[in-house]
Amino acid sequence: MLTAAIFVPLAGAIVMLMLPASRERMLRAIAAAFASVPLVISAIAWQRFQGGAPGTSGFEQIESAGWIPTLGANYLVGIDGISLPLVVLTALLFLASIIYPVDYRGRIKSYFALFLFLESVSLGVFLALDLLLFYVFWDLSLVGMYFLIGAWGHGEEARRAALKFFLYTLAGSLAMLLAILVLYLHSGPSTGQRTFDMIQLIATRPLDGPGLSATLAFVGFGVAFAIKTPLVPFHTWLPPAHVDAPAPVSTILAGVLLKMGTYGFVRIMLSMMPLTFQRFAFPLAVLAVVSIVYGALVALAQDNLKRRIAYTSVNHMGYVVLGVAAAGALSAGNEQARVLALTGATVEMVAHGLITGALFLITGSIWRRAATYELAEFGGLASKTPALTLLATVAAFASLGLPGLAGFVAEFQIFVGAFAVYPWLAAIGLIGIIVTAALFLKLLQRVFLGDLPARWSAWTELGRVELVSLTVLIVLVIFVGVAPATLLAVIEAGVRPLLGVR
């Protein structure tokens, strides 16, 4: 069933290419239909989710098939408490952004096909339980993204941004490939016995602790995920990619692709090499805090709407990594706090996906009407588009961590959990909370409040599709913020076995 979630969109991509290009509405409807299949499937998976009985690996609903058994690589997919919410998030964000209107540049079929392809591989990343398969999907996500940014991005700069994105993240993913290979080579004495099976690698931890190989592998993974996440100073591919990408693509980039990095931190580094992780937890936490503060401060100085939001991603993903680092800093003691930190980190992935996804869709609506992102050119839009204003306000407040909205649930847990382990770092990280508050409020103020420049007097209110997409995301943001119990239960079911806490 999970397999269908991966391959139905892929089939959809192929179908899209074969359809006639003339009827935009029909194409969009078909694409949406394909994109909704994974959402339904992931909802069913959520329903069936057991929550990792004690003594089990925590993974369930596993589906497998032989792929390259000679090398110990197999097609293996499944979920646990950490991947399940991300899968749902991915399916949801893709559906929301695939229907979001955008300028198709006369290549509507390939747009939807690529989008569906990207959905397929993104789901694959979160579902894969085989390292090689994971890598396959991971790399393919770069390809899909490259074409989407390059072909439908804004202007000539888009090509450059796309290339930069591709180069930068490919460098990271290749570092990961090396690390995967080191891990693989240590999993057995010869090819027949080696394996890429993540469940097995998590259970046996063939490469853990000090030692050069472990360090190398860890650094490889670390670089890969730090680039993808991104952590300062590996973040510079992000702003141009975001600014030049069309809005739905930005949504996916921020909402789904960045999560792959942090997911990797949890799924691979923390699960497979916890002892090595401990040795590097502190530097990682420092990097995370730097990202938090740096991302927020640099975002504050941006005059470009999308760039500003892009930099807040650096800030928010810093929180995630801080949570993960805190969770992995000790092998015993402070269990409650570490569970809290990791749970918070996972919630932050979901929350950031929803919130920033919504924010980028909002920028898309703005771009469609204004074709600019310069904050200085806006003002007073609240009078023209109250619905957008309301949605943007809620999203902005969620992003700055207002309680009652999704971001708070995550950030609070991360902060509290991290404080128990790294009090000073956590305290420094709090600065980010203030700066994000300032930057988002200023953003709202500049775009929606104040005087309306004359050139926007013909501004149109959101269309139905836009409204529905955004509302769904915002409602979820509120729901997670008010009643996160179900989400937290699922996540904790994944976090506890991972940290060895009952």
């Binding site: 640099v298 504050l300 407040f397 309680p403 956590a426 203030i434 700066v435 508050a437 104040g450």
Partner: protein, 653 residues
């Protein structure tokens, strides 16, 4: 089973209902909003009373095993849950009337009602998670209220400033919650007692920090001035029973556990007293009516903190109630003043003749502010004085301080009244307030007067029972001293009024301007916090683009210098290398001078730029001349031999 959760959720849901259907005209009429909001708040009030009488079920909202949102009815929160709707109803009535023409009215009313809901949640919280949640919601609601008139850029800036300032304070709560959890794995208020040492200090410090920010104590006081940008009703509610009250409430609520830290009492007294006196001075010298009231708010909350610090939270609670009533009254009065006179500049008011009824009601508020018996405000102030003297941690200098603060409040209260409602010729342009507005300030005046019942013998006993903690024993000498200061203050006011010096107070303009704006605190903050942060962030962004984004430029420049060698080789051929090894360095220098950046093309940046240069230059190795290829082969073969030899040597040794 009625749950305590109903208490906050009822107003919040009511707010949502009022906020959403803005398209349907009847539902956004002032009339409907007035009825609906009053109904909601009345229901809340009824619930609150019920909660006090029959004790509602203290259910817990569970987010997860460690994240439990618990509500609990402590004595002091019992007082607050009643107080909030009690004050809010008249304020809302006023709002529906005074702003009935505004298209944003539904938003305003919804926000006000929601604000009350958040405040209810805040006062019921029994753990730091819930508290923080409510705490920040209150802050966000205040942002929306202050920035109500969003078309005005200044307003939104003020809202931003207010929000950011209080949010800085919120960090204290974050820290407190985290430190508490790190020590005890729970967020419950009751667990604070298990802490000691640094952890305890962090919790106490965090709480104090947060409370100081919310209650506009030094150095956060200036945000209250920004808060003035909001509508009058918002200010009234904000200053009296919600927002600002939260800080004092929290300190009072947690006083028993907070006092476990030995430095808590002196610190909080110092904080309160300094704010009370500074606030008094600022209020005294103020030329703007609302600002004067705002400064007085800081001062009055400072006094409450002093009471808590002295060990008598009940006195603080008492003053909180009294203050809520008269401050809401005063603010609404100021709103009417603004409405009718079009200005709040106290040099231009003197509305006594124009608005005689308002003047009388405002006068009640002023008297309460000045602590003139037998009003409730006086009683609570006397209780604070008593606490300062006989409270567990009272002391002589505290008494002196409170007396000075009391003197100042009497002084500025008198000045306010005289300047605002002193008799003069009736002006033609004054607009009479509506009936509802009269009713609302009348109701608040009534409450203020009714609180005078506290002077009745035995009333303090009842209050002690309700609040669950003891008041300090009064002392008639102290009472007399206090009265004397009030009289003295009144005398001074009168003298100045008669000599027409009451407005200027004979203070040089320079000092006036300095003191007026909170002793220059905002300017300091602007100069030393806000501007540096912006500067830093701009510089950081520049750094980000220029350096980090440009890749590892050191490597890039290294590679490009390597490429220069290649380039030189390409131009001069292998023969040149052999013939002039010595000249090579000079050659590199020459090549580097003539190195042309235009070769660096479009799109691979940073590190890639370096590689790219190497690429374009190394192509020159491919001269297309066979004999150069031969040379490469010869060199390559030699290198291979050398490497093999070295490898062999290494393998053997």
């Amino acid at each position: 089973m009625l749950s305590l959760w109903l208490l906050p959720s009822l107003p919040i849901l009511g707010a949502v209902v009022m906020f959403l259907p803005t398209k349907f005209a009847p539902l956004s009429s002032a009339r409907f909003l007035r009825i609906f909001s009053s109904a909601v708040l009345t229901a809340t009030l009824a619930l609150a009373v019920t909660a006090l009488v029959v004790s509602l079920h203290p259910t817990t909202l569970s987010w997860g095993p460690t994240l439990q949102l618990a509500l609990e009815l402590s004595p002091i929160s019992g007082i607050m849950i009643v107080l909030v709707p009690t004050i809010a109803i008249p304020v809302l009535l006023y709002a529906t009337s005074s702003m009935s023409e505004d298209v944003g009215l539904p938003r305003l009313i919804a926000l006000l009602v929601g604000f009350c809901g958040a405040m209810e949640l805040l006062v019921l919280a029994s753990d730091f998670l819930t508290l923080l949640l409510a705490w920040e919601l209150v802050g966000a609601a205040s942002w929306a209220l202050i920035g109500f008139d969003w078309r005005d850029n200044g307003t939104s800036r003020s809202a931003l400033q207010a929000f950011i300032t209080t949010r800085v304070g919120d960090l204290g709560l974050y820290l407190a919650a985290a430190a508490l959890f790190a020590g005890t794995s729970t967020f419950s208020f009751s667990a604070v007692g298990q802490l000691s040492g640094t952890a305890l200090s962090v919790v106490v410090g965090g709480v104090m920090f947060a409370a100081a920010a919310k209650s506009a104590q030094l150095p956060f006081s200036p945000w209250l001035f920004s808060a003035m940008a909001g509508p009058t009703a918002a200010s009234a509610l904000l200053h009296s029973a919600t927002m600002v009250a939260a800080g004092a409430y929290l300190i009072a609520r947690l006083a028993p556990v907070l006092s476990l830290a030995s430095w808590f009492a002196p610190a909080v007294i110092a904080l309160g007293l300094s704010t009370a006196i500074a606030g008094g001075l600022v209020a005294l010298i103020q030329s703007d009516l609302k600002r004067a009231l705002a400064a007085s708010t800081s001062a009055q909350y400072g006094l409450m903190l002093v009471a808590v610090g002295a060990g008598v939270p009940a006195a603080a609670a008492l003053h909180l109630i009294a203050h809520a009533a008269f401050k809401a009254l005063l603010f609404l009065g100021a709103g009417i003043v603004l409405h009718s006179a079009g200005t709040l500049d106290m040099s231009k008011l003197r509305l006594g003749a124009a608005l005689p009824r308002v003047a009388r009601l405002f006068g009640i508020g002023t008297l309460a502010l000045a602590a003139v018996p037998p009003l409730g405000g006086a009683f609570s102030k006397e209780q604070i004085l008593a606490a300062a003297e006989t409270g567990p941690r009272g002391g002589g200098w505290i008494v002196a301080g409170v007396l000075v603060a009391g003197f100042l409040s009497a002084l500025y209260a008198g000045r306010l009244y005289l300047l605002a409602f002193g008799k003069s010729e009736p002006t033609a342009r004054s607009v009479a307030p509506s009936r509802i507005e009269y009713a609302s300030i009348g109701a608040l005046a009534l409450v203020s007067v009714a609180l005078g019942l506290l002077w009745m013998p035995g009333a303090d006993g009842i209050f002690e029972r309700v609040s669950g903690s003891a008041l300090a024993d009064g002392n008639s000498g102290l009472l007399l001293a206090s009265l004397a200061t009030i009289v003295f203050a009144a005398f001074i006011d009168w003298r100045l009024w008669r000599t027409d010096n009451l407005f200027e107070l004979a203070v040089p303009d320079l000092i006036r301007r300095g003191v007026e704006d909170w002793l220059g605190l905002p300017a300091l903050a602007q100069r030393f916090i806000v501007q540096p942060v912006y500067w830093f962030s701009t510089e950081l962004a520049r750094f980000d683009q220029r350096w980090i984004d440009a890749g590892i430029s050191a490597v890039a420049s290294f590679t490009s210098s390597v490429s220069r060698v290649f380039a030189w080789w390409g131009e001069n051929g292998m023969d040149g290398v052999v013939s002039a090894t010595a000249a090579a360095t000079g050659g590199i220098a020459t090549a580097s001078r003539t190195f042309d950046d235009s070769a660096i093309d479009r799109f691979i940046e940073g590190l890639a730029r370096g590689v790219g240069v190497v690429g374009s230059k190394s192509r020159r190795l491919q001269t297309g001349l066979s004999h150069d290829y031969y040379t490469i082969v010869a060199i390559g073969a030699a290198v291979i031999l050398a490497v093999a030899g070295i490898a062999r040597y290494v393998a053997v040794s």
